[in-house]
């Protein structure tokens, strides 16, 4: 049993064991249902694709699943103390972070990129499906590394993540146009637009910038997470 294999297995079982994965199902199913309804209605997709794909898919399904998985994969263990089991072994902290990151990205991709692909195919074509899946993957990498780093650094990562998603990506983007350069949602949309090359999904950023920004964010967030985990201090209580 390799170290990485053991870590990965523990992480996956912790995330998805015993029906917990069912919690991840409603959102993707809703997305596919919405796409199906739109298709069945026979109305031209250009009038509703943006709502289903962008507003439900990229704005709700992707970030929320990435948040649940990204903060849960390490954060919940730090919170209830079970991470100590792994931390008191000589496994390098970098290995711990990268393994959990890989699991988180894998699970989130399966729960978002796949449904997005299906939705894209339903709405229009395989090309759209592929574009959406790639965009969702880029978004997954960005969100997951960000939320995982957040879960190491802060005690309430979920609230900060929700604040970022709802206020920064949701509200501020409509008010201050400069904010979109720092909005992961826009990264995902931009990449989708480029790959699918369709008017059904329009990004406002250059896809090259989006990919580069995601790479920078992923590296920075992962580095931060590894460093902070190496210097992890258990939450304080006298006793």
């Amino acid at each position: 049993m390799s170290v990485v294999g053991v870590l990965a297995r523990i992480t996956i079982r912790g995330l998805l064991g015993r029906r917990r994965f069912l919690l991840l199902l409603p959102l993707p199913l809703l997305l596919i249902a919405a796409a199906t309804i739109g298709r069945i209605s026979g109305v031209d997709p250009s009038r509703w694709a943006d709502a289903v794909l962008s507003q439900v898919g990229f704005a709700v399904v992707l970030p929320l699943i990435a948040m649940i998985v990204g903060t849960g994969v390490l954060g919940s263990e730090l919170e209830d103390g079970s991470a100590v089991t792994v931390l008191t072994t000589p496994v390098p902290r970098g290995t711990i972070v990268l393994t959990k990151l890989a699991v988180a990205i894998g699970v989130t991709t399966a729960a978002t990129a796949l449904p997005m692909f299906v939705a894209g195919v339903i709405v229009d074509s395989v090309r759209l499906g592929v574009g959406l899946a790639v965009g969702a993957f880029v978004g997954t990498v960005a969100y997951t590394t960000l939320f995982l780093a957040l879960s190491v650094v802060s005690r309430r990562p979920v609230l900060i993540a929700l604040g970022y998603l709802v206020i920064w990506e949701g509200t501020l983007v409509t008010v201050l146009s400069g904010v979109r350069w720092l909005s992961i949602r826009q990264f995902a949309v931009a990449v989708s637009d480029r790959v699918a090359s369709t008017e059904l999904v329009t990004g406002t950023l250059s896809s090259l910038y989006a990919v580069l920004a995601t790479a920078v964010l992923a590296v920075a967030a992962t580095t931060l997470a590894i460093d902070r985990l190496s210097a992890y201090s258990v939450r304080g209580e006298t006793g």
Partner: protein
């Protein structure tokens, strides 16, 4: 050798008056209220709630200021409440899991029920506390706006009268928002034990339906159909209800009475489901 003695301190055989169910209910209610605002705990518990309250108040102050300089208010109080819905949902996403998921996860619920408190009491006290908290968070700034408008009006008594009417409508709509958003949030959070997922669930429940309204407006072009579809997204439905009851925009609401019925039904259903949930949750 000395013999041992167990002293009778008396409290196990207390036969005097005890506080009953009502007291327990009221105490939990006030405790819920305090938890929602992070009172009685450290700084970190207060940050999130008070930041959101601060933002809402700030917006109210800004609107009042603008309104005092022009003769027309920028938006009616009910519309202000509608626009603050996103922040309200965020606040509920932070607060609702603390009120419901935390007690379930740590199995503290059993401790509550060992007192003269019934399961229904617990659920209703939590709900009442949360609803009151949201009401205060919305009605407070509304009242602030009223004060600002009344003081700065240049139309004398009629101006104050208008502002008062607007204030009453704002307060009423704050109550409606508090009831609808609060009951839905608590129900969603009560179903999930882990606080992180509960918070996500609260947000998801409100955000997921919204695009449908935009799509319906696009596709059908009919106001009536859009209103019916808005029942999937409580925030949108409340916004239409506001326009129907209090005016303030050019929309002609077709199905006003249905929206009102919907709101009442949602509140009743969520409350009932919350009680049922707590009847079945293991302590």
């Amino acid at each position: 050798m000395r013999t041992g003695v167990i002293h009778d301190l008396g409290y196990q055989r207390y036969t005097g008056p005890r506080f009953g169910r009502g007291y327990a209910f009221r105490t939990l209610y006030s405790h819920t209220l305090r938890t929602s605002f992070g009172l009685g705990r450290g700084v970190k518990a207060k940050i999130f709630s008070w930041t959101i309250i601060g933002i809402i108040t700030l917006v109210a102050v800004v609107l009042t200021d603008i309104g005092s300089q022009s003769s027309e208010p920028v938006m009616t109080s009910p519309m202000f409440v509608d626009n603050m819905a996103t922040l309200t949902i965020l606040l509920l996403a932070a607060v609702a899991p603390e009120l419901t998921s935390r007690d379930q996860q740590t199995r503290v619920l059993g401790l509550y029920l060992a007192r003269p408190m019934r399961r229904e009491d617990y659920a209703l006290a939590r709900l009442a506390g949360a609803v009151t908290a949201i009401f205060l968070v919305l009605a407070g700034p509304v009242t602030l706006m009223f004060a600002g408008a009344a003081l700065s009006t240049d139309k004398g008594a009629s101006g104050v009268g208008d502002a008062a009417v607007d204030w009453l409508q704002g307060v009423a709509h704050s109550a409606t928002h508090a009831l609808v958003l609060g009951s839905i949030s608590l129900l969603a959070a009560a179903l999930i034990r882990r606080r992180a997922i509960a918070a996500a669930a609260v947000v998801a429940v409100f955000l997921v339906g919204l695009p449908a309204v935009g799509v319906a407006a696009e596709l059908s072009g009919s106001q009536g159909a859009t209103e019916l579809v808005s029942m999937v997204a409580p925030v949108a439905a409340l916004s239409y209800l506001d326009t129907w009851l209090y005016g303030g925009s050019d929309l002609d609401i077709v199905h006003g009475p249905w929206l009102l019925l919907y709101v009442v039904a949602v509140i009743a259903a969520c409350t009932a489901l919350l009680v049922i949930r707590y009847r079945k949750v293991p302590a």
